[in-house]
């Protein structure tokens, strides 16, 4: 058994060294094996052998750099060239032993990784049978409870784009303070204050232009009667303006501003306490004048 083990060590040496001194080295080992009896002596013998191999092996390989045996194909220079470390053909038993050792090592490695993942936190990235999607990790910097804790991520706030109609009618834009395209009950209650923010000239009332009507540069060429008529049409056409301008004079007076909440509730057709776009668009709301 010991001799066979030492033969394995000898097999690590370059072939030329084995050819010249393999038998003598084995003989020397046998001599020591015979002479050195007892557990301690045998242990010392093996320590010596392993240390000797570790020291002398690199020396022998440095002495004889690997001679690559070359083999040319049949047609000489044009053919392929094969290189091999050792000109000797390996024994069949050596090939079989090598294959068996390789298989055993791989099976052992797979079993080790499968079982050690439960107990060896340093195997980060190894397969975990129960929670394969979680990498096992251990750190003293983070409390265990934090590692097990659940992190809830608040969803990104979604702001629907402002309705073009709400953008066009400044009154609606002012009433819809949270820009969700819905005039909620609270926003209805807050309507007087919201409407007052549109009073740019601070006359206490809202003209058609302050409510969203736009004439642009054409305004200068319009006569007063046409302008007044256009304002009346604008204020009557849009349900929210028509509701707020309860006397239909083409502007929302101070009293009408104060009464805005009551006027707006008249538009709540489905009585859900809020005003949605379908209740505010012209020609949709049956209460449109």
């Amino acid at each position: 058994m010991s001799e066979r083990a030492y033969r394995l060590l000898l097999a690590l040496y370059p072939s030329r060294f084995r050819d010249e001194y393999g038998a003598a080295a084995l003989s020397l080992f046998r001599d020591r094996l015979r002479a050195e009896r007892g557990f301690v002596a045998q242990l010392q013998l093996w320590i010596d052998m392993i240390r000797d191999t570790a020291v002398s092996l690199p020396v022998e390989y440095r002495r004889e750099p690997l001679h690559f045996a070359t083999s040319h194909a049949a047609n000489g220079e044009q053919g392929l060239v094969f290189y091999q470390f050792d000109p000797e053909i390996p024994k069949r038993s050596a090939l079989i032993n090598g294959a068996l050792v390789t298989i055993v090592v791989f099976i052992g490695l797979i079993l080790f990784m499968g079982s050690a993942a439960k107990h060896a936190p340093w195997l980060i990235g190894s397969h975990h049978p129960s929670r394969s999607h979680i990498l096992p990790a251990r750190t003293d910097a983070i409390a265990k409870t934090e590692l097990d804790g659940e992190i809830k991520v608040k969803p990104m706030p979604f702001e629907p784009p402002m309705s073009p109609y709400f953008r066009l009618i400044l009154v609606l834009g002012a009433l819809d303070t949270d820009h969700d395209n819905v005039i909620s009950a609270a926003e209805i209650d807050n309507a007087p204050a919201a409407l007052r923010t549109l009073d740019k000239n601070h006359d206490g009332k809202l003209s058609a232009e302050e409510c969203g009507q736009r004439f642009g540069t054409a305004r200068a060429s319009m006569d007063a009667a046409f302008l007044k008529n256009a304002q009346l049409v604008f204020m009557r056409f849009h349900p929210v303006l028509a509701a707020l301008d309860s006397n239909h004079d083409g502007e929302i007076s101070a009293s009408e501003i104060r009464n805005a909440a009551v006027a707006l509730r008249l538009l709540d057709v489905n009585h859900d306490g809020k005003l949605t776009e379908d209740e505010l668009l012209p020609l949709v709301n049956p209460k449109t004048p």
Binding site: L10, Y13, F17, E20, Y21, A24, A25, L26, S27, L28, F29, R30, D31, R32, D48, M49, R51, D52, T53, V55, S56, L57, V59, E60, R63
Partner: protein, 116 residues
């Protein structure tokens, strides 16, 4: 084999030359002789021993003599080695170098006690 491998002379090679100074020996006998000379401090393993022997043979500091049957190992035939004149000279030079080093160490009083 270039002699640069023996310059400086490795400790194992020097001990082998010393072991062969008085008699021709085979490998295992050289190992035992070295262990005895050094009171067990130097134990040459097979790899180191035969690697050094190979180097010494190539430098012609030792030569291989005819194989002989060894009585201690049941008549097994063994290769014996013989120290050449060149080997003896190199061993002497190395010993003198070490002696010089020893004198230097004494002069520097790095030793303690009166017996050195």
């Amino acid at each position: 084999m270039p002699k640069s491998k023996l310059d400086p002379l490795p400790s194992a090679a020097f001990h082998i030359l010393l072991a062969l100074a008085e008699d021709d020996l085979h490998g295992y006998a050289i190992m035992r002789e070295v262990a005895e000379l050094t009171q067990g401090r130097v134990r040459l393993g097979p790899g180191t021993l035969y690697g050094s022997i190979k180097t010494l043979l190539e430098a012609e500091l030792i030569v291989e003599v005819d194989e002989r049957a060894d009585g201690d190992s049941g008549g097994e035939r063994r290769r014996y080695y013989h120290l050449t004149a060149g080997g003896r000279k190199l061993a002497r030079v190395e010993a003198e170098r070490l002696a010089d080093t020893l004198r230097l160490a004494r002069a520097k009083r790095i030793f303690r006690g009166a017996d050195v």
